[in-house]
Symmetry: C2
Subunit: 158 residues, 2 copies
DNA sequence: CTTCGTTTGCAAGTTTGTTTCGTCTGGAGC
DNA sequence: GCTCCAGACGAAACAAACTTGCAAACGAAG
């Protein structure tokens, strides 16, 4: 994370491609954006160092590994002191079943995305995380029936 | 998606690595799991064909490309007929600002994860998607103050 | 006009991914 | 028990991709 990220049109086009498939050869990317492969490589390297590209990962189908249930949880806490919030963040971040955790404004304080193999696992999780934590005022659960659209891609044309 | 996905301990270890960094050389993976590089390559290929690995993508920092606001939206619809639900799914899936969309049970029907550069863009989005759609009964918005944990990784130890 | 800094393309060098091939193991059928 | 066959493995050869060095083009500042 050295430089303030300033991205030109080339960078944005490259990002758009890598967000869809980061196994695309640099030579192919170069043809798509009208740049040589080394130029593409240097830009990718720079964006990686600058933190624009946070990670390169394989997306695994949850159902294929037995994590067939996706849940949303709105969590409301009692005390919002810095220490309590930080403790909650750490606990959520450290829980592998929690795929995503956001600290939000509104009627809830945290929103979680959870994946588990069977409901019993979620029940166990609620006991451990919520009922076992006396700073949790209440939580509401939504069960996903259909994962209509799932991704972390962001709009890059800017 | 040919075979029914049957994953052994090797496959799961490989998946765990690729979920964190899919640029890891196959030789390195092989050393980590006690397998030769070609064996790793064959397993990755098989899992990709079987749909266990859905995609290989770069994760881009939303803030770096100007999408600094993340929002959650609970949407409640009026009519839940199949046609209305399918129409809604299609509309949400086709909206680039909507990163994730789930059809859920509970007090809401859809949960959306949205990223936009500034609040005005979200306001425009609500006008277009919600106020401009007379099947939307109501919606609730949560603004993310902190992206505590973001990812699509799933527990793979099975 | 010159200089410095940046970025590019090309070409060589290095690393990584892929294919080939021979071997081994486990199971079905004789 | 024996043979045969299918599947999976590792070693090595091979192909493709990535990475680096270097000279040239371009722009901004002096």
């Amino acid at each position: 994370m050295h430089h303030p990220p300033r991205l030109d049109a080339f960078d944005r086009k490259i990002l758009a491609i890598l967000q869809q498939d980061n196994t695309t050869p640099q030579r192919t990317i170069g043809e798509a954006v009208n740049l040589s492969a080394p130029a593409v490589q240097r830009r990718i390297k720079r964006m990686t160092e600058d933190g624009v590209i946070r990670a390169n990962v394989a997306i695994v189908d949850p159902a294929a590994v037995g994590q067939s249930i996706t849940l949303f949880v709105e969590v409301e806490v009692i005390s919002e002191t810095a220490e309590h919030i930080e403790a909650a963040k750490r606990a959520f971040a450290a829980t592998p079943e929690i795929q995503q955790c956001y600290y939000v404004t509104g009627e809830a304080d945290f929103i979680l995305v959870v994946t588990v193999p069977v409901m019993a696992d979620y029940e166990a999780l609620t006991r451990r995380l919520f009922f076992g934590n006396n700073n949790v005022k209440r939580f509401r659960t939504f069960v996903a029936m259909d994962r209509v659209k799932v991704g972390l891609g962001v709009v890059v044309d800017g």
